[in-house]
Symmetry: C2
Subunit: 482 residues, 2 copies
């Protein structure tokens, strides 16, 4: 582990973070909302820390970063950015303590969207802008991480990260990291701009449209309003946001291929088809469940069902209704959706559709083997056989995901939180969703969770966002040896 290289790259990330604080600074200047000094101070501190790290460390030859160092950079880099991104909230007095600031910041950069702000509308405009903007930055990071860095590390000998993206990606995009990143970010920015235009076309102000696009595309879910998207109570906005949440839940390399003219790619890709059919199917079931029990008209039931289902399945976490008041069926579906998540290679969290598909096919194969003991059944995704070591990685991933869910739920409950809230909060944070169940439902917030619980949950967010392995491996002593 060559710490000087790791420090150098994290230093660069912090300098970059300090630099982009110029946007909330400009925002504060325009709206004259009193957060100017807080942001300037944060900017200075972040910039100095970044430069300091950069200069005391050595510039690595990027070719020689080994996989282990790659993992350390990803995990520690995300943590450092979460820590320094919290400064504006802390200096701007938006939160009562530093823990809360870090929680909000990590919740942003991991695109989770769980909030400790009890009165969002009481926070200054520039800080709310920062809160939305860091989700958008987090989304950029995730796309590149899951589509370029993790498979890249995989090629370097680590079969596991190759397994993370069993989608037709690495061979389709230009292989070099920086070019892939540029293409993906271009697509990401393009769709974000489209959403801003669509929202403004419906009459939403530029500031709100921008902030919501910044949190839709990374499936982040922070809103500038206390009541989340329900604040606008506008079917057109609901519809637009549902549309863009769905787009954000699709593998971004498919968007790229669509732009290249492969018009049927969403349907041809089996994961994407699974994801779209799941969104549609669950929406219809929940619509059926809500019609007559909660809403009097089918169209209203469909509107709220589609929004909430897409919001949870894509792991965005916006709300236009309190699903905790819905009937049992809808609640069970939403609880289960918290584990499913969106497509691999999208900005969504959770287990990812691809892994779940592989798991189901794996289970079916076991049944099939019981009937035909001598046959060698294979698991296929998009007509390609999933190699055995990738299967193992995926089943291992799902196992660790659930084991960690269990362990963290027990730990959170040990802090005096009730069962439903513990299970819901941990499921929500590991899945990078935002709202949970119990006292952290869609109309509640995370402010009342004890301090130790907040640190546990923000660790869960990092865990889920960085695909479990990257974070949990830091706890294995073997990792640090030699």
């Amino acid at each position: 582990m060559r710490w000087q290289y790791i420090g150098n790259i994290i230093g660069i990330l912090l300098v970059f973070l300090g630099a982009v604080m110029v946007f909330p600074l400009g925002c504060s200047f325009i709206y004259n909302d009193g957060s100017l000094m807080a942001i300037l101070l944060s900017m200075g501190a972040t910039f100095c820390a970044g430069c300091g790290l950069f200069f005391i460390s050595r510039r690595p030859d990027i070719e020689y970063i080994n996989p282990r160092e790659g993992i350390a950079i990803v995990a520690l880099g995300w943590s450092a950015i979460g820590l320094f991104g919290a400064l504006p909230f802390y200096f701007g007095d938006a939160v009562p303590c530093f823990t809360d600031a870090v929680f909000e910041s990590v919740s942003g950069f991991t695109t989770t969207g769980s909030s400790v702000f009890s009165n969002i509308e009481g926070v200054s405009k520039s800080l709310l802008f920062w809160r939305s903007f860091i989700q958008w930055l987090g989304g950029m990071g995730i796309i590149v991480l899951s589509l370029a860095i993790l498979p890249f590390l995989g090629v370097g000998g680590m079969q596991l990260f190759k397994a993370e993206v069993p989608s037709p990606v690495p061979d389709k995009l230009t292989p070099r990291l920086s070019e892939s990143a540029k293409i993906l970010w271009y697509v990401y920015a393009l769709i974000s701009v489209l959403e801003v235009l669509f929202l403004m076309g419906g009459g939403m102000g530029f500031y709100d449209a921008l902030c919501h696009a910044f949190t839709t595309m990374p499936t982040g879910g922070f809103s500038t309003k206390n009541a989340s998207v329900a604040h606008f109570d506008n079917a057109y906005f609901d519809f637009v946001i549902v549309l863009f949440m769905v787009l954000a839940g699709i593998n971004f390399s498919l968007h790229y291929q669509l732009l290249r003219g492969r018009t049927l790619i969403f349907w041809r890709d089996s994961e994407c088809r699974f994801f779209l059919m799941m969104c549609l199917g669950l929406t219809l079931v929940v619509t059926f469940d809500l019609y007559g029990t909660v809403y009097d008209s089918v169209s209203t039931a469909f509107r709220y069902a589609s929004f909430q289902i897409v919001s949870i399945v894509t792991t965005t976490g916006y709300a236009t209704a309190d699903y905790e008041l819905w009937p049992g069926l809808s609640q069970v579906i939403i609880f289960i959706c918290m584990f499913v998540g969106a497509s691999a290679g999208s900005t969504g969290g959770g287990m990812k559709c691809a892994r779940l598909m592989v798991c189901m096919k794996y289970c079916y194969r076991e049944l099939f083997t019981l009937i035909h003991p001598r046959s060698v059944a294979q698991v296929k995704i998009n007509d390609a056989v999933v190699p055995d070591h990738v299967l193992k990685s995926i089943m291992g991933f799902l196992g660790i995901y659930l084991l960690l869910f269990v362990v963290c739920s027990v730990l959170l409950a040990a802090m005096g939180i009730d069962m439903l809230t513990s299970l819901g909060a941990v499921a929500s944070c590991i899945g990078n969703i935002g709202p949970g169940f119990g006292t952290v439902g869609p109309v509640d917030n995370f402010a009342h969770i004890p301090m130790a619980g907040k640190w546990l949950l923000l660790w869960c967010m990092l865990l889920g966002r960085l695909e479990i392995y990257t974070v949990i491996i830091l706890l294995v002593p073997e990792f640090w040896k030699k």
Copy 2:
């Protein structure tokens, strides 16, 4: 699929079932409780149905039963026995409808212990005896199924069932099915007699002692009292029952080895050690959680914590306290324990400790592979390498278990049941535990579940009891072909 052979064996099972109804008949005669005619009628019907099936079918040469027919016999046999075992409850007017009678009977034979009796003490003594006795019979069936039949089928080419018992069993016991069965039943009966003596020694009447031994040893959990074991409010009884629940949760072949003089076998066997340490560890955590919040003294907290934890971990389902009134930590632990279950080869249900140990080692191996990509790490249990196909079977089993839990919870919720109850009831029934959460907690019963829900849940009980594959495979069209 040679139906005549299957019919013949099920016929023999029914004749046997009709024959053992002589015990409740005798009980009814002694107590003169008015159920004599109902039991006679049931006995006659079961006997006739059994003889009918036996004579219209052909006697198979047991050597030529193929694995597929073996599976069909296990699944259909258990179902048939559940159906005919319901007759005494139905004819004896202990239940309002046939569905309830079948629910109670299947709950008995699968050793689940979920009840639809709202007033247990209002049911005649002979019917309550039958209710306890069928759990004891179910336990006998399970021991032989999991330690002799499933591995036996496995040897015949089905790797899967071999995977079910990765314990040092088949090679240690005499290989022939009938002899293995005799030895195991002898051990089972011996421990049951011991429990009766211990309970009577503390002052419990013979009838109650017998009925409770009949439901402790198969980890069944039916009690003759409305308040379950809490009725006696006696620390000595609690202690004795905890001890025997633990014994019932241990692989019965280990008991046999203990009787043969291998005194340290409980500690040497890694699954048993895991199981015992888990019982102890969780009891201590829950004691700590309850002390000061629910109970004022450490000893009282320990008494109730140990009873409830052991009851759920061993999947017995007795209650001396309502854990739904306990703090969040204890509730989360109990909810998770519903999935864990006892040892493979015991009478307990759930996923089984051995499978969970394998899963954890599998996950750790995946992490290890990430650090040392070139190493070939192996999963070991009791110093023996678990073969790759067994690993796959186990991971597949856990995957199917959880997928079915999810599907059945959604289906139950679709019948208008709230989320907590749906999740709790399905977890409890698939795990063969008994009580769940919400409106089916330890002080509630299953009477209020709609009829379709009861059929779903009793299917879940069979599913869990027959190790998932045996039941779910009947739904795969491939299974019936050719």
